[in-house]
Symmetry: C2
Subunit: 349 residues, 2 copies
């Protein structure tokens, strides 16, 4: 174990899988053994990690034997199938899907915000929805200082929120559109090139989408504040990477943009980019491929006595997915929690 951990990536060939490989390598995560797991269809593909080719294996119950850690990013239904088996085999699972996020026995963690939550795990730690992770990284320090009461979020979410297929569909569709050809959507409900689509994930009976309700419910859980009032409008825009969010917050205590800016500047995981006169504010093209959540356009609310408006942008494949997952793994190591606690009932049986 002193050489490192035996790690598997479930969903290694997806958009987040590729980022997981890159982030593990960039951050020199102590990997003793790496197994790349995916569907039968992707088995046999070769992916490079730390200069060494690794062959993708089809996921089977036996594939989890002898592992310390599984980073799962293969969608909710596959996580529901495989996470309990990985935990039963003795691994700790960090799951990027929505399968267990609201399970009361499963910690939902953004390491800058609630690292201590990992201590309570029963084998699975959930990685939040991408839009939530980016929002809560910026919101949490402001909430601690000024006590958020109401949060209103409108999102500008990129095509890769729907995976590599979403990115391909935007690129191919844009070329078709420019050539005067018909753009036929598959991944998205409508053509995305030169359009915006106020529809991400499925609609719920209250008129909100699942994506919007994930932001509401997951933010409450991560902040540990079940009374916090949040609303979200989730909109797909024709960008390739990075989710941006326009955020309005009413606080319980007096707040100024200057005080908020100072707190955010001292917060790990945040980069304050807020010099609008110089054309500097959060931007998807700037945030692409970068770790920090960019925060800017900080200004006093015009609708709340104690309130702020601001704009954030974060790479949803990194802080919204792969980076946060690896940070959770690092937190588990730091807190000596990368072991299935003996004596605790497995959460998922």
């Amino acid at each position: 174990m002193s050489q490192g951990y035996r790690v598997a990536i479930l969903g290694a060939t997806g958009a987040v899988g590729a980022e997981l490989l890159a982030v593990l390598e960039q951050r020199r995560f102590p990997v003793a053994e790496l197994r790349l797991l995916a569907s039968e269809r992707s088995a046999g593909r070769q992916l490079s990690f730390a200069g060494t080719p690794h062959t993708v294996q089809a996921v089977t119950p036996e594939a989890f034997q002898g592992l310390d850690l599984v980073l799962a990013s293969a969608g909710a239904s596959l996580s529901k199938t495989w996470a309990p088996q990985a935990v039963a085999a003795g691994a700790v699972v960090i799951d990027n899907s929505s399968a267990f996020r609201l399970d009361l026995q499963v910690p939902l963690v953004v390491p800058e915000v609630n690292p201590e939550a990992v201590d309570q795990h029963h084998g699975v730690i959930a990685n939040p929805n991408c839009t939530t992770a980016i929002l809560v990284t910026a919101l949490a320090p402001l909430h601690r200082a000024f006590i958020a009461q109401r949060v209103i979020v409108s999102t500008y979410q990129s095509a890769s929120g729907a995976g590599a297929r979403g990115m391909d569909e935007l690129l191919v569709g844009t070329r078709q559109w420019l050539a005067g050809e018909t753009v036929v959507p598959h991944t998205f409900a409508h053509p995305l090139p030169f359009n915006v689509i106020p529809h991400i994930d499925t609609f719920q009976s209250n008129g909100y989408t699942r994506e919007e309700m994930k932001v509401v419910l997951e933010t409450r859980k991560i902040l540990g504040d079940s009374a916090l009032k949040l609303s979200c409008t989730a909109v797909r825009v024709p960008t390739l990477r990075v989710h941006s969010e326009a955020v309005t917050v009413e606080f319980g205590r007096p707040v100024t943009p200057e005080a908020a800016r100072q707190i955010l500047a001292e917060t790990p995981g945040i980069e304050v980019i807020d010099d609008p006169a110089a054309g500097r504010y959060p931007l998807p093209l700037h945030a692409t491929g970068r770790y920090p959540v960019e925060v800017g356009r900080l200004r006093a609310s015009l609708v709340f006595e104690h309130g702020l408006d601001f704009f954030i942008a974060g790479d949803q494949l990194l802080k919204g997915a792969a980076l946060n997952a690896v940070q959770i793994a690092e937190t588990l190591i730091d807190r000596q929690a990368l072991v299935r606690p003996a004596g605790r009932a497995p959460a998922l049986t």
Copy 2:
């Protein structure tokens, strides 16, 4: 006069100018004579109206002699120069620029909302900012029924909000980006293809842009409610036409999505498109070239006791500019106000 009115378009060769020609023709506005005015640079160009070629003239003080109506869409500084001269020559000016919108002597009009305001004109009637016109068309009937208290708007504004040049820059830049070439912005502060830019017009000392403050101040004036609390985040997105807006409203009276939907369905200028399960909601590509403001995604607010969230999309070159201007002209005719009222001091001398 029974044959129609002597009309000039100032800024005939711009993006809004082209739409003004189209809308006057589509709506069979009673035009007896049409003068197309533009800068010296555009003089001599031929544009077609009602099947007849018209030659663009350079604007001069003499160009306004004998006119009944000037539809001005050439920017604020040109309006400040030419509108007083047109009024002095006896014409009524409908001005699409920001020059006079907040002038207390100048009505600011959306005909579905405050048609009676035209009666008080002193020669100039102002056409609102495009984002404002689209917002207020949807907001006004809800405000009348349920009394809006707080309004929070996040916008998704298209390239053509910056005129024909903005549209060209997005198209050319997208082709360059796809070819792997560097995209150099001119009209926009940053490359717009595959990006979103939270910066429209210049920044004010309060951290809001002029665009955002136009939405705040103009909406209050049109609704005749100077106490209404509004906030806006204005964001440019890589679409060609149509501005979309995510809107959250707190009302003073109880409200339901059903009641709001029914009121909106009966409001001229609005098309309720709100069947999300069938993939039907407002969309830029659908609203392009169409007159109505599309309203959908109506749902109960999660942050206000009496509140609604909704999403709107409107063609900002039509309801946000040319259509609204022609509707103002029609309103002037209907209310017998297309004459400089004798005995009133000119507003602009």
